[in-house]
């Protein structure tokens, strides 16, 4: 069994690894050149953060694995990202709604982790929070534009909210792993963040003239390695080049 900190680093690292992967899929596919640059920058932030977190994990993981081994050498049941990060990109509206909703959460989580008693983790969070504040702002602006744009964009962004909303509950789940780390002053207490997040999200959505979906069935399981069908496709693609260089 992995130590709580190692498990925690996998969770944080996999959130960024998988979201970074999804963002990188936009490469050469954005609505404008300028937005292609923006999506690549957000992808680079997350893949870079995954690299730091997994390098840290590798530094005390008992098996002597490298960050790449950890990033690309696991099977489906041993990735621990939130399911929201693996939802397929869909159209630009789905991508921006996911980016906003996740980044609004990530900013709060990273602000907390910036004062973690684990100095390494705190350092990574201090760097990450600047990135995620920018991501949140960029995506929130787009939600406003899509909400205030044309009938089609309003329809698409409202539909995207319904696509993403069932993945939001899981972001605030905590188990014994996280409780142990909260007691040690290392991990982040997500319960206290939920109301702040909800307020932020509600404001942006309603300013854009959109409606917050009602809570219905909520997907969960990523933290235990139980994923949507999308993850298997991501890792069979993502791990190909790594396996090639081993052969």
């Amino acid at each position: 069994m992995e130590s709580p900190l190692l498990q925690y680093l996998f969770r944080l690292g996999d959130d960024s690894l998988i979201l970074g992967h999804r963002l990188s899929e936009w490469c050469s596919r954005a609505p404008m050149l300028e937005e292609d640059l923006a999506l690549a920058n957000m992808a680079l932030d997350h893949i870079g953060r995954a690299k730091m977190l997994l390098e840290y994990a590798a530094s005390f993981e008992a098996m002597g694995h490298s960050a790449d081994d950890l990033a690309f050498g696991r099977d489906e049941r041993h990735y621990y990202n939130l399911l929201i990060t693996e939802v397929p990109n869909g159209d630009f509206a789905v991508t921006m709604v996911r980016m906003f909703i996740f980044s609004a959460f990530d900013v709060l989580r990273l602000e907390e982790l910036s004062t973690s008693h684990d100095e390494m983790l705190a350092g990574i969070a201090q760097k990450g929070v600047k990135e995620s504040r920018y991501h949140r702002r960029h995506a929130a602006d787009w939600i406003w534009r899509l909400g205030k744009g044309t009938d089609e964009s309003r329809r698409r962004v409202q539909r995207a909210l319904h696509t993403i909303w069932p993945f939001t509950d899981e972001m605030f789940d905590m188990d014994d792993t996280e409780r142990v780390l909260i007691e040690e002053g290392i991990g982040c207490d997500l319960h206290t963040l939920r109301e702040i997040w909800k307020k932020d999200v509600s404001e942006v959505i309603s300013n854009a003239g959109l409606t917050l979906p009602e809570d219905g069935y909520m997907h969960r399981g990523g933290r235990n390695g139980v994923h949507t069908e999308a993850l298997g496709h991501i890792i069979s693609e993502m791990n190909y080049g790594y396996e090639l260089m081993l052969s």
């Binding site: 300028e34 640059l37 923006a38």
Partner: protein, 94 residues
């Protein structure tokens, strides 16, 4: 006709205290998008402490037809330069 949004000229400052210099242009529909697009297009390697964006159509510029009457009249007013003046021998800090 499809649209690629409006053209905005981008000015970057490399360090605090330095003047803003023209870097190029981006397309955007509003000021926030223009600033963010300028950030992603022209500051990818850091080296930036400030950004300005302005709609390209709001810039007025001289043409070569303007140049003779705009700039030549100042060429002979050399009394605006400190080197024009003769200072007494031995005077300091002036």
């Amino acid at each position: 006709m499809d649209n690629q949004l409006n053209i905005w000229e981008v000015f970057t400052q490399s360090k605090p205290g330095q003047p803003y210099r023209h870097a190029g242009s981006v397309h955007a529909s509003d000021r926030q998008m223009a600033l963010q697009n300028a950030r992603d297009s022209y500051t990818r390697r850091g080296e930036t402490s400030g950004l300005w964006v302005v709609r390209a159509e709001d810039i007025a510029a001289t043409t070569i037809e303007d140049n003779p009457s705009f700039f030549d009249p100042n060429d002979d007013k050399i009394y605006r330069l400190p080197s024009f003046y003769t200072m007494p021998e031995g005077a300091k800090n002036i």
